[in-house]
C-alpha cells in the first residue's frame, strides 16, 4: 500500500490555505504508508528567467547560507535561500543543467529534489506527520499540491526513494502500485542518455513521461504512450505548473477517490482523507474509471 493525495485550488481563498487543506489529507493517509512521505507544492510561476531549486541534505544542521554564499561567488550572480532544517529552496537565474553541474562539483552531499518556475518538492524518510510538521506543510500557499505516504514494497526505504519523483522541470509523479517492467523501461531510457538516481520503479515511470513530454507530447499523450509501455498496477497522480492529472491502470487494483466542488479538486486513495474538506457534503464524489485520463487545470 501507499497513500496518494492531491489538491488543486480553484479559488483564491483555497490557494491561501492550500497547506491547511492538504496537510490533514496527507497525515490521514499515513496509515497506508508510514515509512516516508513527501509533498510537491506548486506556486504561481516565477518570471521566465528565475528558477527555484529544492535541495535536500542528510544533515539537519546543514549550513544553507554558506552554500548560497559559495554559489553566488562561484557563479557571479545573486540568489536567495529559504531553508527549513535539511531542506532549502534556492531562488536564482541559473538554468537547471548548469546548476546541477555546479551542485555536483561543489556539494555532492546535497541532493536536488526539484527544479522549475512553480514546483518545490519536500520529502524525507520518517512518519508523514513528523515530516509535515518539520517542513511546515500546513503553512504552505500555492495553486496545487500532490503528496504521498509510502509503504515500501519494491525498493529501499530512503529519502531518495520517497515520493514525489520528478524529472525535468515543473513535473512530478506520485504512485500507488508497482510496475513489473521498470528495468526494461530504464534500459530503454538510459540508451537515450537519460540518467537515473535510484532503482525505484516510480522513477522509471516518471522519467518515461518526462522524456515523452520533452519530445513534444502533451502530458495526456505521454500517458497514452506510457499505458502501452508500462506494465503493472498503478494509480498515478501527476502535476505540472498548470495542471493535475490522474490515471489508473486497466485493472484498477489500486484505489482512488475524487471530490470536486466549484472551489477545488481533491484526490486521495481513500475518502476518509477527504472527509474534512470544506463543503465535502455537497462535493461531486466519484471513483475514477480504469485507464481514463483525468486532467484538471489551474
Amino acid at each position: 500500500m501507499c497513500g496518494i493525495v492531491g489538491f488543486l485550488a480553484r479559488s483564491e481563498a483555497d490557494r491561501a490555505r492550500l497547506g491547511q487543506l492538504v496537510t490533514p489529507m496527507l497525515e490521514c493517509m499515513a496509515t497506508r504508508g508510514p515509512d516516508s512521505a513527501g509533498l510537491a507544492l506548486f506556486r504561481s510561476p516565477l518570471p521566465a528567467a528565475s528558477r527555484r531549486f529544492a535541495l535536500y541534505a542528510g544533515d539537519r544542521a546543514f549550513d544553507w547560507q554558506a552554500l548560497n554564499t559559495q554559489y553566488q561567488a562561484d557563479n557571479n550572480c545573486t540568489a536567495t535561500v529559504e531553508a527549513v532544517e535539511n531542506h532549502a529552496a534556492l531562488l536564482t537565474d541559473l538554468e537547471a543543467g548548469p546548476f546541477k553541474a555546479w551542485l555536483g562539483r561543489t556539494c555532492p552531499e546535497v541532493h536536488l529534489l526539484s527544479a522549475g518556475h512553480a514546483i518545490e518538492i519536500y520529502k524525507d524518510e520518517g512518519h508523514p506527520e513528523e515530516i509535515a510538521r518539520r517542513f511546515h506543510f500546513s503553512e504552505m500557499v500555492g495553486t496545487h499540491a500532490v503528496g504521498h505516504t509510502r509503504m515500501a514494497t519494491e525498493s529501499a526505504v530512503s529519502p531518495a526513494h520517497a515520493h514525489p519523483f520528478t524529472a525535468g522541470e515543473d513535473f512530478c509523479l506520485v504512485h500507488n502500485g508497482s510496475l513489473s517492467n521498470p528495468y526494461s523501461v530504464r534500459r530503454k531510457l538510459e540508451s537515450l542518455g537519460i540518467a537515473f538516481e535510484t532503482d525505484n520503479d516510480t522513477e522509471a515511470g516518471c522519467r518515461f513521461l518526462e522524456w515523452r513530454m520533452r519530445e513534444g507530447d502533451t502530458l495526456e499523450t505521454a500517458i497514452e504512450v506510457a499505458q502501452a509501455e508500462l506494465d503493472g498496477f498503478y494509480t498515478f497522480l501527476m502535476a505540472t505548473a498548470d495542471k493535475m492529472v490522474l490515471v489508473r491502470d486497466a485493472f484498477a487494483c489500486k484505489p482512488a477517490v475524487v471530490a470536486e466542488t466549484d472551489d477545488y479538486v481533491a484526490v486521495s486513495s481513500e475518502f476518509r482523507s477527504l472527509a474534512h474538506l470544506p463543503d465535502i457534503k455537497h462535493a461531486h464524489v466519484y471513483e475514477p474509471a480504469p485507464e481514463q485520463i483525468y486532467s484538471w487545470s489551474v
Partner: protein, 230 residues
C-alpha cells in the same frame, strides 16, 4: 426500550460502535441505530448478527457491513471497497455508489446499490442476491458460484469471467463477456426472479428489459484436446 440509538463517530471509535452493536444493543433493543459522521472510516457495522435497522449517515470506507447476518444496514452515501463482503443474510443498501468488490463472496441476503458499483462486483459470489441500480465495472461476478447479480445499467468488460452457477441479469449494454460467460434466453422463472428482486430492491424497471447471462460450463472439465485454448 430505547426508541432510536444515535452513535457519533466523531466521539466514538469504530471499535466502540461495533462493540455496542455486538453487545449492549442486544440488551437495549433499540428501534434502530443511526451512525453519524462515518467520514470514510472502515469496517463500520461489520459482523452484525441480530435483527436491527442500522443507518450510516454519510460516506463510509472499506468492509462496511461485512459478514452481515439478519441486520438491515443502510448507507446514506458512497462506500469504499468490499461492502457487505461475505454477507450471510439480512439486507445491505447503499444509497450512493460502491467501490470495488461489492458483495464479494457473499453467501446469502440482499445487497442493493442504488448508484454504480465499480469493478469486481459480486466476485466469488456464493449465494447473495445483488441488485445494482446503476452500472457495474469490469470483471463483475468473476468466478461467481451461486446467487444473482441484477444490473439495471450497463456492465463493463469481462462480465462473468469464469462464472459457475450464479446468474446475471443486465438491463443495459454489456461491454464484453469474460471467459465462459454467455447470453441465454430469458425463461419464465427468470422473469419471475428479476421481478421479485427489483421489487425487493425498490427498483422500478420491467423484467422484460433484462438479458440473462450465465455460464456455458465449458471450463468445468479439463479438455485435453483444447491445447490450452480456452
Amino acid at each position: 426500550m430505547v426508541s432510536l440509538k444515535q452513535l457519533d463517530l466523531t466521539d466514538l471509535s469504530v471499535r466502540q460502535v461495533n462493540e455496542y452493536l455486538h453487545g449492549e444493543l442486544l440488551e437495549e433493543r433499540p428501534a434502530g441505530v443511526e451512525i453519524l459522521n462515518p467520514d470514510g472510516l472502515h469496517s463500520i457495522a461489520a459482523g452484525l448478527d441480530t435483527k436491527v435497522n442500522v443507518d450510516i449517515l454519510g460516506h463510509a470506507g472499506y468492509f462496511i457491513a461485512g459478514m452481515n447476518q439478519q441486520a438491515r444496514v443502510t448507507i446514506h452515501g458512497n462506500v469504499g471497497w468490499s461492502v457487505a463482503e461475505n454477507m450471510m443474510s439480512g439486507v445491505v443498501r447503499v444509497k450512493g455508489h460502491a467501490s470495488e468488490c461489492a458483495g464479494a463472496s457473499g453467501h446469502g441476503g440482499l445487497l442493493v446499490i442504488e448508484g454504480d458499483a465499480s469493478s469486481r462486483c459480486g466476485i466469488s459470489l456464493k449465494g447473495t442476491e445483488i441488485v445494482v441500480g446503476g452500472s457495474v465495472g469490469h470483471f463483475s461476478a468473476f468466478m461467481a458460484q451461486a446467487g444473482t447479480l441484477v444490473v439495471c445499467g450497463d456492465a463493463g468488460p469481462n462480465l462473468g469471467d469464469s462464472l459457475y452457477e450464479a446468474t446475471i441479469y443486465v438491463r443495459g449494454s454489456i461491454h464484453s463477456f469474460g471467459a465462459d460467460a454467455q447470453e441465454e434466453e430469458m425463461q419464465a422463472d427468470d422473469f419471475e426472479k428479476v421481478t421479485d428482486l427489483l421489487s425487493r430492491a425498490e427498483m422500478n424497471y420491467d423484467a422484460r428489459e433484462f438479458k440473462r447471462v450465465s455460464s456455458a460450463r465449458s471450463l468445468y472439465h479439463w479438455n485435453a484436446d483444447a491445447h490450452q485454448e480456452y
